[in-house]
Structures are given as C-alpha cells and as structure tokens.
Amino acid sequence: MTRYGKTAGIKRVVDVLMTLALLFLMGYQLWGDAAHEWAGAVMLILFIVHHILNRAWYKSLAKGRYTPMRVLIVAVDMLLFIAMIAQMYSGIVMSRHVFAFLPVGGGMALARRLHILGAYWGFILMSVHLGLHWNMVVRKVSKIPGAVRFLAGLAAAVYGAVVFVSRDFIMYMFLQSEFVFLDYEEPIWAFYLDYICLMGLWIFLAHYLGIALKKLSAAKTAKRGRRKEQL
C-alpha cells in the first residue's frame, strides 16, 4: 500500500509549511501588519501548489463509493476551500502592503467581516482536515505506543477545549463581534501553547471520529458479507 510517488516528499514539505503558515497567520498581533500580509501571500502560493500536487483528488471525486468517512472528508475539504478563498479575497482587499497596488477600491465592509469568519472557521477546518489525514503523521511516529499517543492527544484536546471557550471562538465564528479582541501584550509562547492545543483538539476529534467511522463501515461490510454467505 505504498502510495509514495515522486512528489510525496514535496507534498509533505508543503503540508508542514502550510501548517506553520497558518499558525503564524493566526498570531496577527504578534508579528505586525506587513509580516502577516507576506505570510498570507506565501500561504496563497502554498495553497495553489497544494492543489496542483493533489489534483488527483479532484479527479477521483466522481469515482468510487461514498463511505461516511469519505463524505466527511469531502464536506470538510469543500468548506475549507471556501474559507481559504474567503481569506485570500478579503486579505487582498484589506491589504496595506503586499497587494496595495491592486486597484481594489471597495468591498471593505464585506472583507472585514469575511476575514474574521474565514480566519476562525478556517483554523478549525484546517485542523479537522489535518486530523482526517492524521494517519500520515501517525505512520511517522508509529514507534510510540498507541496508548501514549492517545493520552497525549487527549491532554492537548482537553486544554484545547478550554482555549476554544476562553478565546471566544464561537462568538467570532458566528460574527457576534465585528472586531477581534487582540492582546498585543501577550507572550508569544502563551499564544502558541493555546493555539497548538486548540489545533490538537480538532485533530484529536477528527482523527478518532475517522477511526470510528472506518470501523463502522468495516463492521457493516463484514455483516453484509456474512449475510451473503448465509444465503
């Protein structure tokens, strides 16, 4: 079952870079305007490269059976795609540095709100997306016992759940607030401890939900198989 093609290595590098870019982008107030915009531009390029490298996924969309797991993956990816496009568009409209030369005059009202929605939904969706493909990471750390991995994940997830509440994600995801509270005084490590654990929460949920869904499908298939034998 080795699906490692020539591009596998590049793919992983791009995936890691995108994850790092996402974390960098979430800390807007820590790095300043210009760095945020450049990171966004890099993310745009990585996003395009990611799609080129994984174009086979789009080609296979119409083929094969849709298991619950596959439905989940496709739905999350579609939503994530929308969130990313929303971020790119709104970021370019509000740009003061990198894309300021573009003759985009209006749309600020929409862009301002869209950028909050895209940022908070996008972060969650990206984490879920990561979680649904977490097996790629698990393969790399397969020497660590499953129980240890589960407990480490659980610890991060529990703290991540606290962060999800304390950082008002629900409020921003439903645009109950039109301006994000940005703490410019917060230490960088504290911010990233929170955001990495929050990412961990959604990776954890998605990863184990994925495993459960696969088991469910397998059980059904087995049942169907047994029934056929009995007939």
């Binding site: 409209v93 003061r96 005059g105 209006g106 749309g107 929409l110 301002r112 301006f179």
Partner: protein
C-alpha cells in the same frame, strides 16, 4: 497555475464590485462637519473664571462625530456614534468638567464618511500609506499646559492617523499624558504602543481609561472615579 491565478483575480474583482455599492462622495466635505461642532476651546475658555485654576490641563481628543460628513441617514445601531456628541467627545466633556481644563478637538480638513464601513475603508488606506491627515488647527500655546489628556477611538486595532498628525504637529515633550479611549470589542489593541512610540519624550501614564463605545454615554461616573485616581 495561470488559470488558477486568473480565477482568483476574477473572483476578487467580482466580489469587490458587489461590495462597493454606496460610498458617499466626499465632495460635500467641509460644509457638514464644522457647523455642528461648537468651537470647544472657546466654550471651555468661557466657563473658566480663573485660567490658572485649570491646573494647565489640556484635553485633546479625536471624535469621529466631529470629523464626519453628516449625510442625514446614519445607522446609529451598528456603529459608534457619528452624531454629536460623539463617544470620545462626551468623555472629553466630562474630563473638562472635572479638571477645568481646556478642550481641543482634533479635526481634519477632509472629514471622514459618516458610514462606519466607508470610514473604516478610508482609515485603512491612510494606515497603509502611513498618512498624516492635515489638521484644521493646532494648539496655540502648548507651553501653557503641563498635563494633556489625549482621547481617541480604536480604529483598525490602533488610532486614527489624525492622532499621529496631532502628536507630530504639537510638541508634547515633557508633558504628563493621560490616555482615554472608546472602542468596540477590539479593546485598546495596539493603540497604546502606537502612541508611546510617537511620544518618546512625554510622560504617558499607564493608568488608561477605556470603555466600550456603546457604554460611553453612561460612563460619566466611571471616568470621574478614574480622574479621582489621578488626583482630580
């Protein structure tokens, strides 16, 4: 690759067309703003029986309400107050009553749209260009003041660029500066750092007054207890 870039550009152009429907032209600029705003420094001077009793306090503030073109149709619900008295203007008034200082309204020659989103759009442009909007007037006798209360709203996680114009055109070297701010859910954001950077030679107190814009009209007591902490 090209296709994708073109596709993204098409989308962004389409979206921007949808978004930029009703930006009011700023042609009517100067007419609107000045007539509503009473000359604050004059009215303040009148109420003072003895100028020296003011303790040499200046209350300089930027209020959107005094820097906007009023078009008549203002959405008062979903935005800070653009109708006089503005949020910051009101706070400044209470500080004046308590300290007996002189009010100075920081006003730009080219007022902002009275639509909150349009106003933010221009504010964003000015921030990007690191602009210094031209002010109508500066403080005449800055030397006469030892204490400056500086008030502003949070615009784009910072201050309106006119505040930077003010801080550069008026020498606040050696002054005791107290900040007060009216903001939305963004809080003080980066505003204090921006001001601190612009005023390296002033004494900026860490005791800052800030309130949510919707609570500004009910903040008289809060601001008075803040003033009491400062010794007024």
């Amino acid at each position: 690759m090209k296709k994708i870039i073109v596709f993204l550009m098409v989308i962004s152009v389409l979206c921007s067309l949808v978004g930029c429907s009703g930006a009011p032209s700023s042609e009517t600029a100067d007419a609107g703003s000045s007539e509503g705003a009473l000359m604050p420094s004059e009215s303040a001077a009148e109420t003072l029986s003895d100028p020296t009793a003011s303790g040499n306090v200046l209350i300089a503030y930027f209020s959107w309400a005094e820097n906007a073109v009023l078009t008549g149709e203002v959405d008062a619900v979903s935005s800070p107050s653009v109708v006089a008295p503005g949020n910051v203007q009101q706070l400044a008034g209470w500080i004046q009553e308590k300290t007996g200082g002189e009010l100075f309204s920081i006003r730009v020659t080219d007022p902002y749209p009275s639509d909150w989103d349009d106003c933010l759009a221009r504010a964003n442009e000015e921030r990007g260009a690191d602009a210094r909007p031209v002010l109508k007037e500066n403080v005449e006798n800055m030397d006469a003041y030892d204490v400056v209360f500086l008030g502003y709203p949070n615009w784009w996680y910072g201050v309106p660029m006119a505040l930077l114009s003010f801080m550069e055109d008026n020498d606040l070297t050696g002054k005791q500066v107290y900040l007060f701010c009216s903001h939305g859910t963004g809080g003080l954001a980066n505003s204090v750092d921006i001001i601190t950077e612009a005023l390296p030679d002033a004494q900026i107190s860490e005791n800052i007054f800030d309130c949510y814009e919707e609570e500004a009209p009910q903040s008289q007591e809060a601001i008075e207890s803040w003033l009491a902490e400062l010794g007024y």
